[in-house]
């Protein structure tokens, strides 16, 4: 049994802002090309990643797997990636 | 700890064999080592006897790996040891330092031979005594014991394991080829007559456990791997959580505790054997095989009417400086025979603080002293 605090009907990408170091691996490896680097910075000065179009996310989890910072993950209807 | 395979009774053993049996009697169940004269027989005996008591022997590819494996085994929950001689002792220094830093109970036996370097592999020496204290880099304290007979090698190996568990550090047994290859009667008591110090286990549940929160005696309880404590430990300077702590403050706190946990408990650790100190003009201060040879010289000196006492160091580190200082105030001179060009004599001189002369009787190694040379020094000291 598992619980999620929000029941995502579709996939939802979460970026943990304070962990992101703006390396852009996720941007590169997203097969849907829906991630991009912004000019917004976190407290450490790294330029954050944002999601261009959540609806196109297939929940493949490539972003989460390729991220070296444990800074991005996808919430899918059947759990987190 | 099972007593299956442990022996009891009177035996005619070499020092190396006695050391191995002492380790087994202490509950040692892991040996990782590398053959080196004159400690090889300890490894050979352990390779045969450990499986008999349910333990594990592994011959590692070198002494660096041996010491690392000993530490790993200790963290895996077993009492572990290795045995070597000078060249291997040098190789083990880095991981002895790791053992100190991680606060790992284990025993390292150095069967000294003449050095430096390859030296005289089959002949005795006592040239590693300062290395025992200072061989690894950084500031730390160490416990080192010096037996004078195969029986004492048996007894002190047990004591070494007990001290290592009590104070959580590698304890050194500094013996010599002369004792290691000497055959004498060794009495092995029955298992239940041997007092063993158990490992100090955590007294809080895993969720609350921090690996380096010390008890009042400055020693932290020790969790072992695989029991759910999920601790992280590192050779980097660390805080009570075990995490690397990159600051002078953390360094101060940690190093002081590592040194103080031995130095502040020295009265419970230090052991010496004394004879004839009361009323003595001269005291022979020695250890290991040299103490045995000194006994002959002392007997001859007393026969000549010289008031000479014996202070035999059983713990060489921490050094019994308080006792030496006390004695120094009441005698003319210390005579320090050792099979090196002067190592423990430096400690005697330091502790004596100029209150008594300190006369070194050196021997470069390869044999034990001729008692006459020690007698000459005693006569000179008595003048």
């Amino acid at each position: 049994m598992h619980y999620v605090t929000t029941k995502a009907k579709q996939n939802h990408i979460h970026v943990i802002r304070e962990r992101c170091k703006g390396c852009s691996f996720c941007v590169e490896f997203c097969p849907q090309h829906i991630l991009y680097q912004t000019t917004e910075t976190n407290a450490k000065g790294y330029q954050l990643i944002a999601v261009a179009d959540q609806d196109k996310c297939t929940g493949c989890g490539m972003c989460s797997r390729v991220c070296p910072e444990f800074a991005i993950f996808v919430e899918t209807p059947d759990g987190k990636q | 700890m099972s007593s299956k395979g442990q022996i009891t009774g009177e035996f005619f053993l070499s020092g190396d064999e006695a050391c191995a049996e002492g380790a087994l009697a202490a509950g040692c169940r892991f040996f990782a080592g590398y053959p080196i004269t004159p400690a090889t027989e300890i490894a050979e005996t352990m390779s045969e006897r450990l499986p008999e008591v349910g333990g594990t022997y592994i011959q590692m590819e070198d002494e660096l790996g041996s010491m690392a494996a000993v530490l790993g085994a200790a963290w895996g929950g077993v009492k572990a040891m290795t045995a070597t001689s000078g060249p291997g002792f040098s190789l083990m220094m880095e991981n002895i330092g790791l053992g100190i830093m991680l606060e790992t109970p284990c025993v390292v036996v150095d069967m000294q031979r003449a050095g430096p370097s390859t030296g005289l592999p089959t002949l005795t020496g006592q040239g590693d005594m300062m290395q025992a204290r200072w061989g690894s880099h950084g500031s730390y304290s160490i416990i080192a014991l010096s037996p004078s007979s195969p029986q004492e090698l048996f007894d002190l190996t047990i004591k070494a394991f007990n001290l290592s568990e009590k104070y959580r550090l590698p304890v050194l047994v500094m013996s010599e080829e002369a004792i290691g290859h000497m055959y004498e009667k060794v009495t092995i008591p029955p298992v239940d007559a041997i007092k063993l110090t158990p490992r100090r286990k955590p007294n809080v549940p895993p969720r609350e456990y921090l690996p380096y929160v010390a008890d009042d005696d400055l020693v932290p309880p020790m969790a072992i791997a695989g029991e759910g404590y999920r601790f992280h430990i590192t050779g980097l300077t660390h805080d009570e959580r075990g995490y690397p702590a990159n600051s002078a403050e953390a360094q101060d706190k940690l190093v002081r505790r590592l040194v103080d946990k031995i130095d502040k408990n020295r009265d419970s650790i230090i052991e010496v054997a004394e004879s004839g100190i009361e009323g003595a003009d001269v005291v022979v201060c020695s250890y290991g095989i040299s103490a045995r040879v000194s006994a002959i010289a002392i007997e001859r000196a007393r026969a000549l009417g010289i008031q000479v006492g014996m202070l035999r160091l059983i713990t060489v580190w921490p050094f019994p400086e308080k006792r030496v200082r006390e004695i120094a105030a009441r005698i003319r001179a210390f005579v320090v025979p050792e099979i090196n060009y002067g190592q423990m004599v430096l400690e005697v001189e330091r502790a004596a603080c100029g209150r008594a002369r300190t006369i070194l009787v050196p021997h470069m190694g390869g044999a034990v002293h001729d008692p006459e040379t020690i007698l000459d020094a005693i006569k000179q000291a008595a003048k």
Partner: protein, 276 residues
């Protein structure tokens, strides 16, 4: 995919395996170590390992810092000595599941002797060797895996030494499982880790990983992304490849895949049924 009992926004699904109080970690932006670590943690979950009995041992170097980030019994030991330390742990308690996570310098330079002997003995453990072709922690010196002509702070005119072909070295020594992947091959790497963890005997996975700050910057691949792209488009998957042909040259192809997957007696030997 296992989930935590209570999920909340902002808590990464791998946080149950991590000392999250120590994140963000010290590794540079674009360093691949976090990616390899993430794959390792996912593999621990997928392999069904008991995390109370899973232990990580690491050596010195950037890769060695990984042990400090995992919420397992973990040991950050001396340079090159992770393998013998792990050997002692495993022999003392064969129920432990040991993962050695260390770098190319730690495992093949100073630790080289221990590497070949631990493989020779076929000690049951999983070894993840992160190869970034450089000594990162000390500021970018060459190592035994730096490609010929590779520029480092101790080979500014280009490395004149031939590097190790790690898979060939390990295969010659022993072991039951051998694979190489890169950080661009996240799913394959994770699968290889699962197989290695479930395999009895010495299981070794080399992972090519970016070091942007030193190796990349000095060899015209200045960002982690540059190196990731290079791995992605220059890797050739050749399972069971002839190991004489998997050397890595500067800007050359990287042969990846599963090279060895076999059964052999291992140590510590399992107890026979009668408990002896």
């Amino acid at each position: 995919m296992k989930t935590t009992a209570m999920a909340s926004i902002g808590t990464h699904p791998l946080d149950e395996y991590l000392r999250a109080d120590r994140l963000p970690h010290i590794w540079c932006p674009g360093c691949g170590l976090g990616t390899v670590l993430g794959a390792t943690l996912r593999a621990i979950g997928r392999a069904g390992l008991d995390t109370e009995k899973t232990v990580m041992v690491s050596g010195i170097g950037c890769t060695g810092r990984a042990a400090g980030y995992v919420k397992l019994d973990s040991f950050h030991v001396t340079h090159g000595r992770a393998l013998p330390f792990a050997t002692g742990l495993k022999l003392a308690n064969p129920d432990l599941k040991i993962i050695v996570f260390s770098g190319d310098g730690d495992l093949t330079a100073i630790g080289g002797n221990h590497l070949i002997h631990t493989a020779r003995r076929n000690i049951d453990m999983t070894v993840i060797c992160v190869n970034n072709f450089i000594y990162g922690m000390t500021g970018g010196q060459l190592g035994p895996t730096t490609p010929e002509q590779g520029r480092t702070t101790t080979s500014r005119a280009g490395n004149i030494e031939k590097p190790f072909n790690i898979p060939r070295l390990v295969a010659a020594a022993g072991g039951t499982y051998l694979a190489r992947w890169t950080t661009a091959h996240v799913r394959q790497m994770e699968r290889a880790f699962v197989e290695a963890m479930q395999k009895k005997g010495f299981s070794f996975v080399e992972v090519i990983s970016p070091c942007p700050t030193y190796y990349g910057r000095m060899n015209e691949q200045a960002t982690g992304l540059d190196q990731m792209r290079y791995y992605r488009y220059n890797s050739v998957v050749k399972h069971g490849a002839n190991l004489d042909e998997v050397d890595i040259s500067l800007n050359g192809p990287i042969i990846v895949g599963k090279f060895i997957d076999t059964e052999k007696p291992y140590l510590p030997a399992p107890k026979a049924k009668n408990g002896k």
